[in-house]
């Protein structure tokens, strides 16, 4: 069961309002803009966005046009959480002084995997520690796609990128994907969750929970990238589902330290079901696939233990 009351949900109850409108320049089949679009629907109009440099920024705001129907600010690559911190204290004091009308405004920082797990990790950690009431959304497409598919610390083991090319001495990305969720959880923040736009109701539900959190919230959203993953652009939703069904990207949440699986896809599909058709994994030998399969199962079992699932 993806969530206990799924029968209450249907596509027609998703808010009709669009805050990320059509006309942006995202690639065909981009699951990242879909993730952001769905998240903004869940957030609603009373939202301020601070965005890191990256795909979402670059596809949305070539001056003088904009994709955003919400107040939006982009400052730099590594500081979306710091800018959000500033918006938070600015609004707080102005509301306290009565210069801005008191109201609940969601402050939401959005960054890619590079802007979150690499260059923006420090400012994100600081914002969590200071306990600003804000939501950080990492839209993870598993490499620096905007600059031409270079590896990040969120690129999966073995994946081919332009800076982790397979070669005589290389089998692609030489390191394992950084676990951002654990890093977020280690800050003792009230809400942390993974999501994927292939599961839109789950994603929307989690954004709504993040809104209600009494402190910082972190959402890590896997965002299939046909351009960087070398996949067919009509299969983005399917690849998101395969990532979940193979246990490569489990859907779960951590509420006040308590882990809960959002979906138990057991029996897991073999990772080869997920890899098949992805150009970035095409070079992998059986030996490496076996290594990844074993690690995937181990991580899945560890997560089940954390979630109290037998």
């Amino acid at each position: 069961m993806i969530m206990p009351n799924i029968e209450l949900y249907a596509a027609n109850v998703i808010p009709k309002e669009e805050y990320a409108v059509s006309g942006h320049r995202a690639c065909q089949g981009c699951a990242e803009i879909l993730a952001v679009r769905l998240a903004l629907k869940a957030l609603g109009r009373d939202t301020i966005l601070t965005m890191a440099t990256g795909c979402m920024e670059i596809v949305s705001t070539p001056f003088p046009t904009t994709d955003w129907k919400l107040p939006w600010i982009h400052v730099a690559f590594e500081n979306a959480a710091a800018v959000a911190s500033g918006v938070d204290i600015g609004l707080k004091i102005l509301m306290k002084k009565g210069k801005v009308k008191k109201s609940d405004i969601n402050i939401v920082a959005i960054g890619g995997d590079g802007g979150t797990s690499d260059i923006g990790l420090q400012s994100l950690s600081g914002a969590f520690e200071r306990y600003h009431k804000f939501i950080y959304i990492c839209v993870d497409n598993e490499a620096y796609m905007n600059t031409g598919v270079q590896r990040s610390s969120s690129t999966p083991f073995g994946a081919m990128t332009t800076t982790s090319p397979p070669g005589k001495l290389s089998m692609g990305q030489p390191t394992w994907k950084k676990n951002m969720v654990k890093i977020a959880v280690a800050h003792n923040i009230p809400y942390v969750a993974t999501a994927c736009p292939s599961y839109p109701f789950d994603l929307i539900e989690k954004v709504k929970k993040a809104k209600m959190a009494d402190g910082p919230a972190y959402l890590h959203i896997l965002s299939v990238c046909p351009t960087g993953w070398r996949t067919a652009s009509d299969l983005s939703i399917r690849y998101g589902r395969l990532a979940v069904e193979s246990g490569v990207f489990p859907l779960y949440e951590v509420e006040n330290g308590t882990y809960r699986l959002s979906l138990n896809p057991e029996p897991l599909r073999p990772v080869t079901d997920y890899f098949k058709g992805q150009g970035r994994f095409r070079h992998l030998t059986d030996e490496y696939i076996d290594k990844i399969q074993k690690r995937t199962i181990k991580e899945w079992e560890d997560l089940k233990t954390l979630c109290g699932v037998k």
Partner: protein
């Protein structure tokens, strides 16, 4: 001024009191020597409820200025302070703060840059940030530091300006000394500096996009508009300084001079060493020699008209730099003055001396030696030397 109204107080503390008088609303800062007393006192003011501000002690200077942009974009009057390495860590964001036209005020306790690590004063930090599109003011003493914060906040937020400002004060040499300072009354500051009324803010009732990117068709125009705002800010700065003088009785100008009417030979300098130069000038006078001092209070936008006016007709111009040229032909202040001299056709012999690096003591006698050496010069170009500047007191 009546000395009775003055209070003996450390300049960093005094500057923080000025931040309070300005009713800053958001502060985001990271501690670094020698700026620490400023953030410490601000923390106390906020903790005691004397300053109604949100203060975040953030995890780096890069984030400090990033958060300032967020707070300023939300519409709050925003302050930060840093020094040296901290200013360089902010470097990327400096340009964005000015490009986004955020009227943030930042006090910079000037300090040398690593390596080798030095916590002591020079202008290496701010000179590396001189082209960041910020308005830059240099303070000579504590009273100037206090008044400059008030003046800077007023013109930064002026809708004809909307640019961030650095108020520079020499680390330790100025930031940590106790000086007699007069504080304006809160009511007078309130009357001079109304509550910040931002032009655009981030709010769901008026959604707008800040920080879009520009394609080659528009980048030049965007930067041109910003550059114009910076250049035109000088008139507003002059206007605000004039109004401050009328209201508070302390006159400030973007360029100030000491004993320049009679003297053919003038020093050009910035910051707290101006006081030592004036002492040297008085000593020279007692020996029957005339020298003047031209103080650059506003370094960006560069006050070329005002400088041309005061430097015109001078026979010798001695430019003092407190930063290494970094491979340039001369120190940064000299480079400005020499291009001004060429453009304005000033017929003077120019000389460039670099001193006071990394906290090396600067004494009035040094300027007497510099004066004597300059008087012996017959041309601006020094043929025999490898460089056209001299580093005073350097051991080879």
């Amino acid at each position: 001024m009546n000395n009775k109204n003055k209070k003996g107080i450390e300049v960093s503390i005094a500057l923080s009191e000025s931040v309070k008088l300005c009713r800053f609303e958001a502060i985001s800062a990271y501690p670094i020597t020698p700026q620490t007393h400023i953030v410490e006192h601000l923390s106390e003011l906020v903790a005691e409820g004397e300053l109604a501000a949100e203060f975040i002690t953030i995890e780096s200077e890069h984030s400090a200025l990033s958060a300032c942009i967020g707070a300023s974009a939300a519409g709050a009057r925003t302050f930060t302070s840093t020094s040296s390495q901290g200013l360089e860590l902010m470097h990327e964001i400096l340009f964005i703060a000015s490009g986004l036209r955020m009227p943030i005020v930042m006090a910079v306790a000037n300090r040398a840059l690593s390596a080798p690590l030095s916590i002591w004063n020079d202008h290496g930090d701010v000179m590396a940030a001189r082209d960041a599109g910020w308005i830059q003011i240099f303070c000579e003493n504590g009273q100037e530091a206090v008044d400059s914060i008030i003046i800077a906040t007023r013109f930064a937020e002026d809708r004809r300006v909307l640019l961030p400002v650095m108020v520079n004060l020499d680390g330790f040499i100025l930031s940590h000394v106790v000086e007699p300072i007069e504080f304006p009354a809160q009511e007078s500051v309130d009357a001079f500096l109304p509550s910040y009324d931002p032009l655009y803010t981030l709010h769901p009732d008026r959604p707008l996009t800040m920080g879009a990117y520009a394609l080659p068709e528009l980048y030049t125009e965007a930067r041109y508009a910003q550059e114009n705002a910076l250049i035109n800010s000088k008139d507003v700065i002059n206007e605000v300084m004039g109004e401050f003088g009328k209201k508070f009785g302390r006159e400030y100008r973007v360029v100030e001079s000491y004993n320049c009417e009679k003297a053919d030979t003038v020093f050009v300098a910035m910051g707290s060493m101006n006081e030592n130069i004036m002492t040297a000038i008085d000593e020279l006078k007692s020996r029957g020699k005339e020298a003047g001092l031209v103080k650059i209070r506003l370094f960006r936008p560069f006050p070329s008209e005002e400088l041309a006016e005061v430097l015109s007709g001078k026979k010798r111009i001695i430019v003092i730099d407190r930063a290494m040229p970094g491979g340039a032909m001369n120190g940064p202040v000299f480079s400005e003055i020499s291009s001004l001299a060429k453009i304005r056709g000033l017929d003077a012999i120019l000389s460039n001396f670099i001193l006071g690096l990394g906290g090396r003591d600067v004494v009035p006698e040094a300027f007497i030696d510099i004066y004597n050496e300059s008087m012996a010069r017959t041309s601006t170009f020094v043929k025999a030397a490898k460089t056209n500047y001299r580093i005073v007191g350097v051991r080879e």
